[in-house]
Symmetry: C2
Subunit: 347 residues, 2 copies
């Protein structure tokens, strides 16, 4: 009964970013209070002089999480936090969240209570009010959509496409840990599938497992930067991996960059796991994703104020667009960075 | 690897409203600018004196729509409009929307273009900006989450739990049409399944089919009421059916009501289809759902201003809680109204 299309273009031909770009290319903004629409970590809406931030993320069973190794409490926590992280990446503070689930009857009330326990824990920690949502059945699996609402003063908002040539590139925390945590969980899942009596071997991986299962939004960094009177010139959160996310800053700002391999902050536990899995820690850092650290640029004039702050690493600088987007290896080679981050539609 | 629950309560034991109530019962609002959280058509957030409204709805393939008879353009339109309707039900105006989809690779780019065409059409008609969303793969089917953001002056906001005893109950448009449209589509689907060569018999059902496939949000009514200087005392949009939605107003306001069977506005085409399907048009009106008309109460003092407005029907009045929630039949019998509306988790 529904009409058949004569032409068929597979979604996998475009990838997630290509698809969003294609579907949203004809948008014309109608309200002058819609300051920023599609294309940054969050939308920006002006209300009586104040800026409201709105962001949405989906978490899909079998795509974004595997019920075999994801405790529901952690999942509820993570679903909230990854949205808070998008608000933080605009230099804003999350204030409210809506939380919607579509769930099959395979789930019990007790399971959903666990999910909400994690959600409420995140709301408590980040001082966010749960204000709504929708709950419905699914034909299979668990689908979570969370929408976070935040606030930022109009002089404080930071976009991802406003870096300047010569700016210093900074990253918070350490990189690649969440990805290595996922590798460990996937390995133990295979062991478990082969022999359900085997106990999973998760000891000694606490740090990277926590980074995968229970990420945090770096709201603390906003306060630290405010404290030293530094406003980033551009900012994004690391959800897809450094390679993909620095490309958003570079292409958005029409600039290139040099990032130095030996400056990438990597935790000892990440290094150890990477060696064990025979993965380069640079690959884990550049393409792993899900670290939810902040990647931001600052003016050179702010270098002295930032260089000694614990938890912030200076990893490179912005260059002219013609110089390209490069990783400078320890031996001094320039390697063009390609986004090989996690792409939901190619998986 | 994940922990097993010792106790298991099936979700079907609670139903959708019971589940939401249970999961959100411990919410403590932390921000004084969170004016209204869970429990109305939309959340209400105060920003520099202005009220922002936020609402989310899910549309799930196989639960809320059937791809066999749902044109994707209509679906995109409907997904937007049902969210706008929630904003309108707070006496507010939708301004922005985020639109997220999770989609299997069974869908082509052209199919999603159709979906977005409908979305953009709704955005154009209702003067709403599409400002964001998330796009990801699903393991099967199409999942849509839309979140609408609206505005309302703080003196204009209308909740669902603020009706007063003696208030007059009004409804816009006509009832039961969307449900009868669904009945026709379901019948033709069965015919089609039995014999794919048969052409569906949809002629003569245009009105009720359009009401099912392409509902509208009654933003026009807000303007009309403003024009005659009437502010509803309580309001809700008819998504689950009159029976379910009047109960929200009654229980929220701690009141009863009398609704008169002979006052229920039913379109001729709805009546005709109801007869054909041997369904009482009262049943279709009370329990059908998805009409997206406005159900609201007004003070008796405003009766004269409203009684002759085209497109608004007066169907009853609010009574003391002790009198119960009743349908008064044509013969004068009082029948207690029970919510038998569409309940997503029992389906």
């Amino acid at each position: 009964m529904s009409s058949e299309n004569k032409n068929r273009t597979e979604l996998s031909e475009l990838g997630e970013f290509g698809l969003i770009k294609h579907l949203t290319k004809n948008i014309k903004i109608k309200h002058k209070n819609t300051i920023k629409g599609v294309g940054d970590d969050a939308a920006v809406i002006k209300v009586n002089g104040k800026l409201m931030l709105v962001t949405t993320d989906l978490l899909i069973e079998g795509v974004h999480f595997d019920m075999i190794y994801t405790p529901l409490k952690h999942l509820g926590y993570k679903a909230a936090v990854i949205n808070f992280s998008d608000i933080v990446a605009m230099n804003g503070f999350p204030k409210q969240i809506t939380f919607s689930i579509s769930v099959s009857n395979r789930y019990s009330l007790e399971a959903l209570e666990e999910l909400y326990e994690g959600l409420m824990l995140a709301c408590k920690k980040y001082k966010v009010d749960l204000v709504g949502g929708d709950t419905t059945t699914s034909l299979g699996g668990l689908y979570i959509t969370a929408t976070a609402i935040g606030e930022v003063d109009k002089d404080d908002v930071v976009y991802r496409d406003t870096a300047k040539k010569g700016d210093i590139i900074c990253v918070t925390g350490d990189l690649g840990a969440a990805y290595m945590g996922l590798m460990v969980l996937e390995r133990e899942k295979q062991v478990f599938k082969a022999n359900p009596d085997m106990q999973p071997e998760l000891k000694g991986y606490d740090y990277i497992l926590e980074r995968q299962l229970k990420p945090e939004a770096r709201i603390d960094i906003l306060k630290i930067l405010k404290g030293v009177n530094v406003k980033p010139t551009a900012m994004i959160d690391l959800s897809d991996g450094l390679a993909s996310d620095i490309m958003h800053i570079c292409t958005g700002s029409a600039l290139g960059c040099n990032i130095y391999e030996d400056k990438l902050p990597v935790n000892q536990d990440t290094l150890k796991a990477a060696m064990e899995f025979n993965i380069s820690s640079v690959t884990a850092s550049m393409n792993g994703g899900e670290d939810y650290e902040l990647l931001f640029t600052i003016s050179r004039d702010d270098y002295e104020k930032v260089k000694d702050i614990m938890g912030i690493s200076i990893i490179g600088h912005m260059t002219d667009e013609s110089e390209g987007i490069n990783l400078i290896t320890k031996t001094g080679s320039h390697i063009p960075i390609k986004a090989q981050g996690w792409d939901a539609l190619r998986k």
